[in-house]
Amino acid sequence: MKALAASLLVVSVISMTSHAAEYRPITGGTLRTALPLDGDTVEVAAYQLRALPVSQQEFKRFVLAHPQWRRDHVTPLFAGQGYLSSWKTPQDFAPNLAAAPVTQVSWYAAAAFCESEGAALPTWVQWEFAAAADETRQDARKDPLWRAKILGWYETLSLDVLPAMALHPANVFGVYDLHQSIWEWVDDFNGLFVNVDSRAQGEQKVLETCGAAALSLGDKENYAVLMRIALLTALKGQDTVNTLGFRCAKPASKK
């Protein structure tokens, strides 16, 4: 009960003090990634990440300011049929809660939103770096209890109306809801494993990536992360999912 009250307070502080979203500094460092890139680890430069995913309220404000992203105006190239389809009208997010994460947004719409606040969608490794943390540790992924808790969310059925955010404590970076709330878009969801220049190298390259990847998967036991990757891999930029939202990232502040 106490935790719930505290987290509600956090929500109201974050959403009511100003329209400017809270970004948290993320230290960056060496990440043991679930993706087989060129090695098992990747260097992640310091960056800032939104403390919370973008809310219904925030997305409504965006849609009002940028009517080309209303569901009745958007070009189908940028958003499929499910885009904001749970909204009562193109400008009213009811029956969703104002403080709930916005979902049913395409990658294009999410990217445009982030741009509107001077940010971008996080890259996969930025997302993965922040999501490796729990409340006390920067990398909690080896903890079976932590994993079980996250898997528990995947195991539960989708809700028709998502609850408000920050119902669980923030992680060590002060970032909420990277798990147990929604799926999240990342900037490079569609090219996670490929160097775009490799297309000229044809099938050989692809098969090589494929075979090696399956065997050397960086974090084979981190099923929670694998499921994220599987979902992102299933998507096209205009697709929307009832439980897929997003948050934004910025370069580390210069100070």
Binding site: P144, T156, L157, S158, E203, L231
Partner: protein, 349 residues
């Protein structure tokens, strides 16, 4: 290589990381299409297990459209205990697909918007890398289509191949596709569809409440449930299979796994024929047949006397402690010359 092809390859490169089954993204769905366009088109009738779609009477190939959904749902795994199942079409196993050798199958897979997870389908009847998995990986609310030619007759497993594959299978995402040989199958009186699967929960069998999936137990291959058709009572009580004395019974039996091999046996019957491993060859006079995870067998027998026949995995702890038990209730005339119900050696009169 054309531009279109290369673009597609780049998009698909992301797929193979997820699982070996999703590897090699090159199943060509183009080669069959021109010839298939001239074929008569029919939509497959799909029935919930243990029911089986009617035999195929066609003597020529067709284009068969199969519409499958992926659905996530909570229901009882045993009375008093619930489990979150991931399914094809809302049942475990998923509906039996019945086609004829030489048919071109257009498989439409739709992941319901209410789903939380992405899913796909790998059919063992497909000749081509991934068995359809790379083409059908879809997020909730989306759909995909792919086409293949059913070249080989036999009884084949299909399953979800989305990472982590064992978890999707352990949650119930498997079923079978029967590819009838060109010459058809011999007529029988009853056909049934049964698949065994192993399920992993933190609580023991019948612990009560809503039990989550237990990844550790799955990796350790230590199931709390071993079931026919996804629930301990799916083939017992009012759900028992039925037959009459003298009926020719054919059962399409498969093992979804993800881990356990089944020693399939029916207490009180001898299989006249077992088309072992789901293929075209049969063995005769079989008591127990072994069915590997991701494999199948077609068994045929004739109940000789009335009463209950009991389906089990003859690794019997699974039958009597983990749920792998089913009943076929046989009605009809007694035949005391074959089987005497009065235990005459115990007579006290």
């Amino acid at each position: 290589m054309s531009i279109a092809c290369c673009t597609w390859v780049v998009k698909k490169v992301a797929l193979p990381i997820l699982a070996l089954a999703v590897c090699a993204a090159f199943a060509p769905s183009v080669f069959a299409n021109e010839a298939a366009d001239a074929l008569p088109v029919e939509t497959a009738v799909l029935l919930a297990p243990p029911n089986v779609p009617a035999p195929i009477t066609r003597k020529t190939p067709a284009k068969v459209i199969v519409n499958l959904t992926t659905e996530e749902m909570v229901r009882e795994i045993t009375p008093g205990t619930k489990y979150t199942f991931w399914t094809f079409g809302g049942t475990v196993p998923g509906q039996l697909i019945r086609v004829r050798q030489g048919d071109t199958v257009e498989l439409n897979l739709k992941n319901l918007p209410s789903s939380k997870l992405p899913h796909n389908i790998d059919l063992h009847a497909v000749s081509g890398p991934g068995g359809g998995a790379p083409q059908t990986l879809i997020a909730p609310g989306n759909q995909a289509k792919f086409t293949f030619k059913a070249l080989n007759p036999g009884l084949y497993v299909y399953h979800c191949a989305t990472a982590p594959v064992a978890m999707h299978i352990a949650n119930g995402m498997y079923g079978m596709i029967l590819v009838e040989p060109e010459e058809g199958m011999s007529p029988v009186d009853k056909e049934y569809y049964v698949m065994q699967g192993d399920f992993y929960t933190p609580g023991a069998f019948g612990a009560g409440g809503l039990q989550p999936f237990d990844m550790k137990r799955s990796i350790d291959e230590n199931p709390s449930y071993v079931l026919f058709n996804g629930a301990s009572n799916s083939l017992t009580g009012k759900n028992a299979l039925t037959a009459n004395v003298g009926d020719k019974v054919r059962m399409y039996f498969g093992s979804g796994g993800p881990n356990l091999m089944s020693s399939f046996h029916i207490i009180g019957a001898v299989f006249d024929r077992v088309y072992f491993e789901g293929g075209m060859k049969f063995q005769e006079q079989v008591q127990t047949t072994v069915v590997p995870p991701g494999g199948s067998a077609v068994v045929e027998f004739v109940p000789k006397v009335p009463g209950n026949l009991t389906l089990v995995d003859h690794a019997l702890s699974r039958a009597f402690h983990k749920g792998a038990i089913g009943i076929m209730s046989v009605s009809g005339e007694e035949h005391p010359e074959i089987y005497s119900k009065n235990a005459n050696t115990k007579s006290s009169e």
